[in-house]
């Protein structure tokens, strides 16, 4: 699978959220500006599991734990969907850049 465009990654995230988020009690539209923890109410472990679905979809692993560790070090408490898109975009095969 070649590296997808950012909008494709965004749509893949939306599709994954739709697939796994049936019970998540969040009915607003999810946009690039939606916060994963603050708006969707996820915990970091939930985002990692969400990431595992994306890993399965893209058939590659992404350094999610390392990413969250770096965020914590920088005292960043929450990320938007666009941050997740950027993270995935930066870490597709052949690249390795957590932040």
């Amino acid at each position: 699978m070649g590296k997808p465009e950012k909008m494709t990654i965004f749509n893949d995230i939306l599709a994954t959220l739709e697939k796994v988020g049936e019970d998540w009690e969040y009915s607003d539209e999810i946009t690039m500006d939606t916060y994963l923890l603050g708006d969707l109410g996820l915990e970091s472990i939930d985002v990692v599991v969400l990431g595992e679905f994306l890993e399965e979809h893209y058939d590659q692993s992404f350094p999610f734990t390392e990413y969250f560790t770096e965020l914590a070090q920088q005292e960043i408490q929450d990320i938007r969907v666009s941050d997740l898109v950027d993270f995935l975009d930066r870490n597709f095969d052949g690249q390795s850049e957590v932040l």
């Binding site: 796994v20 019970d23 472990i45 990692v48 599991v49 692993s61 350094p63 999610f64 969250f68 390795s96």
Partner: protein, 536 residues
């Protein structure tokens, strides 16, 4: 799935230990368990090395040792060679579960709250995994619409059966006095909800093998062991402690009633096993092994590591996954990867690290470390801190897991080591806590099982053979334990001798359809690892 074969019910009590159960039974808090013991056979049950939840329950559900089934810890590397960790999942499981084996033999199973059962494995029957947050519970269950079915149970609380990682931190952080009552009530309620699921499924669609883990005992004993083991409170308790203790006793009385309900669901001809994954005991001190390794020149902390001067040395699950940034990897040759491993990993240049010791120095370093560890004495008692050390080959022969430590330790108090940076190597805890001991419990009652029999200690590897034997199935020849034949009456054993059958299969995801890793894939992985700096 209605069936003719008698039902087997396996009641898993995480962390159950006779040192607490016997006094509670004698005091009349667990009348059903007292009857169960009188009517059945019991033994101590030796756990895995180290005695922790994921490898131990996985051994119970596969009949194989951690080296074989591949689950050695709560964690796995985020990717090959990564210093960052994630929770283990069924994707790391190398062996077939008894639920899959039952399915191959045309039998159905229910498995509830077992760790390492997510993503779900398709079986004939039902599974709901443990250690999964409520947001991911729906798609972690089998069959996929199980949650919708469960929502129809009157009074059923879906969220409560999920794993709340934030709340569970109390296991390591402890409870304030104000939180203690809520912590106990939460677990009584949570266990009750799980039992509701089991009894509902048993009533609606009876399966052959039913197994469930209740984890309240582990969670409460970690925090309140000192109030449960009479040896710990023989010098008396404060009025406040007595109040908490009475609440704990009430919990065990409720739990006893729940066990009776589950055992009842097996029917009069059913076989019931009560097993724990490990035992429990008291711990009053904490051993900071990474700090010892620093003092001996094996480990260097990074600038991000903060020295703990107060506290119990315990770290949250979340912090364990992230410890990769706390060490200066260029200048570290030996380190503790996770507290739960109770082990030391050695960086070997070109093997698991681009820095570290030369491969030809491995045996020398292992021997030196072993000698140094055995010479560490407790500052208060003067006794050796490390009671036993296993090498990687001794504890995990044949495994290729990156999580297998090069040295695994058993401490003087059976406690787990701390990975955090500390100003002292051993510190007294603020309060005595409960830690995992190697000997858990095994109890069995049913047709042909001796009444009131007290057996010699069994091994946790013996539980899966016992389950399959109760179902009249052959025991796979590659199972590493045995059917505890001594629990059966001679007549029952003669009528139903143990039969050894074909070897078990691989884990479902490793089946014939699983893609083999070709040279191109391997090259790509090596390229990535080089890019990340883990291979020179």
């Amino acid at each position: 799935m209605a069936h003719q074969q008698a039902t087997t019910m396996v009641i898993g009590l995480d962390g159950a230990t006779y040192s607490i159960l016997y006094p509670l039974m004698e005091a009349g808090h667990m009348p059903y368990l007292s009857r169960f013991v009188a009517e059945g056979a019991r033994a101590e049950l030796a756990s895995t090395i180290p005695p922790i939840t994921p490898p131990a329950w996985t051994t119970i559900m596969t009949g194989r040792s951690p080296s074989s089934h591949g689950i050695l810890d709560f964690f796995r590397p985020e990717s090959p060679g990564s210093r960052f960790l994630r929770f283990v999942s069924t994707k790391q499981l190398k062996c077939e579960t008894v639920w899959s084996l039952m399915t191959r033999n045309g039998r159905s199973s229910v498995c509830l709250n077992f760790p390492v059962m997510s993503p779900p494995i398709p079986i004939s029957g039902y599974s709901i995994p443990g250690f999964v947050t409520w947001r991911h519970l729906r798609h972690s269950c089998h069959p996929g619409d199980l949650m919708d079915t469960l929502k129809t149970i009157p009074g059923f609380d879906l969220k409560i059966i999920a794993h709340d990682f934030g709340l569970e931190e109390k296991v390591v952080a402890g409870c304030s006095r104000e939180e203690s009552e809520e912590w106990i009530k939460y677990h009584t309620y949570k266990d009750d909800q799980w039992v509701k699921v089991m009894t509902y499924l048993a009533g609606q669609d009876p399966c052959h093998l039913n197994a469930m883990v209740l984890d309240s005992i582990d969670r409460l004993q970690h925090v309140f062991y000192r109030l449960l083991d009479p040896e710990c409170y023989k010098d008396g308790l404060s009025e406040e402690d007595r109040h908490i203790q009475s609440m704990l006793h009430a919990h065990y009385r409720e739990l006893d009633a729940m066990i009776e309900r589950m055992a009842g669901a097996a029917g009069p001809d059913g076989t019931v096993f009560i097993v724990s994954d490990h035992g429990f005991g008291p711990s009053e001190h904490c051993f900071y092994l990474n700090s010892l390794l620093e003092k001996r020149g094996y480990l260097t902390w990074s600038d991000r590591a903060v020295t703990e001067t107060e506290g119990g040395g315990d770290v949250s699950m979340d912090a364990v996954k992230n410890h990769g940034h706390l060490l200066d990897w260029e200048r570290t040759t030996a380190f503790v990867n996770t507290p739960s491993s109770n082990g030391i990993t050695i960086n070997v240049r070109g093997k698991n690290s681009k820095t570290g010791i030369a491969p030809e120095d491995y045996d020398r370093v292992v021997n030196r470390l072993r000698d140094e560890l055995l010479a560490v004495n407790h500052p208060t008692t003067g006794e050796p801190v490390v009671k036993q050390i296993w090498t990687r080959e001794e504890a995990f022969a044949g495994t290729d897991s990156e999580m297998a430590p090069d040295l695994t330790l058993r401490l003087w108090d059976n406690g787990l080591v701390s990975t955090v940076k500390s100003d002292k190597i051993i510190k007294a805890r603020k309060e005595c806590i409960g830690v995992h001991y190697p000997m858990g419990v095994f109890m069995a009652r049913g047709p042909g099982i001796k009444a009131g029999a007290r057996l010699d200690p069994l091994n946790i590897l013996d539980v899966a053979p016992a389950m399959l034997y109760s179902q009249g199935l052959p025991i796979p020849e590659d199972y590493e334990g045995r059917v505890p034949e001594e629990m059966m009456t001679p007549e029952a054993l003669a009528a139903n001798p143990v039969v050894i059958g074909d070897a078990s299969s691989q884990a479902d995801h490793l089946g014939d359809d699983a893609p083999e890793m070709d040279e191109e894939d391997m090259e790509l992985i090596m390229k990535r690892m080089k890019g990340l700096g883990y291979i020179s």
